[in-house]
Point group: C2
Amino acid sequence: MSTRSDILEAARAAFREGGEAGLSVRDVAARVGVTPMAIYRHFENKQALLDALVVEAISEWRARVAAVPACAPLDWFQKIVDAYLDFALGEPRKYEAAFLVTSSTALRYPDDFLAGGSPAVTLQLKLITEITGARQRGISLADMLVTVAGLSQGLVTLYRAGRIAGSEKKFRALFRRAMENCIGSFTLESPR
Amino acid sequence: MSTRSDILEAARAAFREGGEAGLSVRDVAARVGVTPMAIYRHFENKQALLDALVVEAISEWRARVAAVPACAPLDWFQKIVDAYLDFALGEPRKYEAAFLVTSSTALRYPDDFLAGGSPAVTLQLKLITEITGARQRGISLADMLVTVAGLSQGLVTLYRAGRIAGSEKKFRALFRRAMENCIGSFTLESPR
DNA sequence: TGTACATCAGTGAACGCGCGTTCACTGATGTAC
DNA sequence: TGTACATCAGTGAACGCGCGTTCACTGATGTAC
């Protein structure tokens, strides 16, 4: 049963280095020190191996969100934003697997998330609701959710594609300002 | 000199069908009805062929923006938003080439754009400045630019990855609302 | 006007690579009687 | 306790594919004298 975990570990390493395009059955086998066909004893095919990595990455993201200590809604939300940045910038390939790789298991905005399909998003929804509260401007929760998701994902993608100039530190600050402004825009008055 | 344009046309078709991953020298040659090596008579290598497609796509996007008739700043901006959606949804592969394919010629936010490297963005910057005007909330022009770019790109990416449920029409409406809200958030009062 | 030569588009075969997956197999381990 | 058999992880060779690019070439067209 250790070969299976060796395969997963090798696949993780291969994906870390080259992403989806860098994952090959033959390469993973070579890393484990085993024949390519040995992989098929443990995974139905390459897709199944990739799916396993996606599931792992999603779990890790959820664990990171769950690990953020509870506090006042706005602080809490901002800490999750920081966790998102840590994940996206510190483990770029895992971020890719969790958020970008097209997998049959991918949830869809906004329905699957409003329905509570993802614990991480459910928490964020709760926080957004509490933050905007009575000052809420009549924007639907679904819209707010998709806007936050789109902005996060778009900024990270631009940065990762090297299309945003400046250091990582500068990008993190920019990202935080943009998210703060975005959340603020959901309320009637300007924030702060 | 007609072979060169035949090659470009075939490459365009191949890219339209399969994106960057679907572009192969051999396939393009087969479409033209010519030996793979004939391509090399006209392009240094595969990358040069891809670069040519990227340049074309960027030109087309700029032409579309330039074709939007001048009007009041907010209307004008919204018409550009619509043009962006038309481009992203109507010519998804060209959108990909213009905005997502990593190319040595890619401009970077915000410096290259603030410096006027892109006529399309220069116009958008001018419009944003006019729209926010005196009510501007102290957010830097660079931040506003990156936020608009990130949100646009992120929403389209989510939609194209099938992660936003609903019809194209619904997505367009959602996109417009999100952009309107985003622009509104740059001013002191809530818009409308 | 005719000839020699350079230019140039395109050919055809091959190199060397990596890919996912098939097939029939070996050899060790565990199980039933 | 010993034997027969099933299970199962892993092997090794091969199939058939597509890829970018190299090399030496052919044959037509244009140009110079």
